[in-house]
């Protein structure tokens, strides 16, 4: 019978690195998918996976076994993805949050979108790229992952009202960008 995550965590705490290997192999793919949805770039998602496991290894002593390991790891991954987006922003020296992600998204988005050949897909990609790191993450977690706002707030380190406002801003921007395609008024 397969060991549970919590059992493996206990073994890692006892110095068993093989147990950590099992955790890495069990969770690396789902973490990669989440990271990709936020960064929209395969190489960046890969970096996020590496950094997530490195940070989780360092922080394993503080992991509360009453929590779910998957959720805990997911939080670390999202913070890593946001840090990566922030470092891009600093590197590009951009003040306007809305612009920085267009660069990040453009790495991988273009070829895929071109293959898909859909105007709507391109418009969605562009609209998503226009969101700030927090807006994009909050929207991805709420819209794609179906995560409750309260949990998103815990990940982003924001109060419920601020989390709601982040999602509202994201939706408002997306509506504005996609209005020509859907015909809805903002």
């Amino acid at each position: 019978m397969e060991a549970t995550d919590i059992e493996l965590v206990e073994r890692v705490r006892g110095g068993d690195d093989d147990a950590f290997r099992v955790l890495v192999e069990r969770h690396s793919r789902p973490i990669y998918r989440s990271a990709y949805r936020i960064t929209n770039n395969a190489a960046d998602a890969d970096d996020v996976v590496q950094e997530t496991f490195l940070r989780s290894y360092r922080a394993l002593a503080s992991f509360d076994s009453r929590a779910t390991f998957t959720t805990w790891l997911h939080r670390i991954a999202i913070n890593c993805a946001l840090d990566l987006i922030d470092s891009r922003k600093r590197r590009d020296g951009r003040i306007d949050d809305g612009e920085d992600l267009s660069l990040i998204a453009s790495h991988d988005a273009s070829p895929d979108r071109v293959v898909l050949g859909s105007e709507m897909q391109r418009a969605i990609a562009a609209a998503m790229a226009g969101l700030t790191g927090n807006e994009r993450t909050a929207f991805v977690l709420r819209h794609f992952e179906g995560m409750p706002l309260e949990e998103i707030g815990q990940i982003l380190g924001t109060r419920l009202n601020a989390t709601k406002n982040t999602v509202f801003r994201a939706v408002k921007k997306l509506r504005q960008q996609l209005q020509p395609f859907t015909g809805s008024l903002v």
């Binding site: 690396s28 929209n40 770039n41 190489a43 590496q50 998503m128 999602v167 859907t182």
Partner: protein, 255 residues
């Protein structure tokens, strides 16, 4: 009648706010909710390119090396302290040599840098500028060598047999050690562009350094794609060109 706010409509869409009673009696809000639903309903999760079947093993291979480094970094590891001290001494020694060389060319240094706005500017600033230039000279060479390794790697042709990357691997390993030192120094000196590029370079060098010496065609393509996706060769050329401009003395011949 008081209508639902935009926020309430959005929360309603996500089932985080119950306004069924109002919606039943208000056509305007129903239309608004339908408009929001049209937009949000059209946004589907992006297709995630699935990594290869051996992705989990690859993640572990790269990570296990970092975890070993992590353990070595723990306080009390004398070897690492000595290595770091030796590296810092080497940089200081090289810096000293270059400073002495620069000291013999005062006119050139003055000509190379714009005149300070304040004539009473302390001499320490000039020394700082020289140190920054030394850092840039050393890092410029590091970028040169890194670019060569990456170009050689991307020029390899994946074949039916495994490809031997021992040479690239050894050089990447050597570069990796200095990369960390330069990154920290560049960051401390406020050379953000240089520090960021070194930061991006590090995981790629690490991947090359800790891949098997014989790599499969798939693994090689993946490594090449990583280099290309990040546009590292181009970035190295751009930053290195900037570094050369900043470090070039006025009467030095262009290379």
């Amino acid at each position: 009648m008081t209508h639902l706010t935009q926020e309430e409509i959005i929360l309603n869409y996500y089932r985080e706010f119950d306004s069924a009673a109002h919606l039943e009696s208000c056509a305007e809000c129903r239309n608004e909710l339908a408009a929001v639903a049209r937009v949000l309903g059209s946004i589907e999760p992006p297709e995630v390119p699935e990594p290869g079947d051996d992705y989990e093993s690859q993640v572990w291979n790269r990570l296990s090396w970092r975890l070993r480094s992590e353990k070595k970094k723990k306080p009390g590891n004398a070897w690492m302290k000595y290595a770091a001290a030796a590296a810092m001494l080497a940089v200081a020694f090289l810096g000293g040599l270059l400073l002495r060389k620069d000291a013999k060319q005062p006119a050139q240094i003055i000509a190379a840098k714009p005149a300070p706005a304040n004539p009473a500017q302390p001499a320490g600033d000039s020394t700082q500028q020289q140190r920054d230039r030394i850092l840039l000279v050393v890092v410029g060479d590091h970028f040169d060598e890194s670019e060569r390794v990456l170009v050689e790697l991307t020029n390899l042709t994946p074949g039916s047999d495994d490809t031997d990357i021992t040479n690239e691997q050894q050089r990447a390993e050597e570069l990796l050690a200095s990369n960390r030192l330069y990154r920290r120094t560049a960051s401390d000196r406020g050379e953000e562009n240089v520090a960021t590029l070194l930061d991006e370079l590090e995981p790629v060098l690490m991947q090359i350094a800790h891949a098997p010496s014989q790599v499969s065609a798939d693994e090689l393509r993946r490594m090449q794609k990583r280099v290309e996706t990040k546009g590292l060769v181009f970035k190295l050329r751009v930053v290195r060109a900037g570094v050369r401009t900043e470090t070039k003395l006025p009467n030095q011949p262009s290379i």
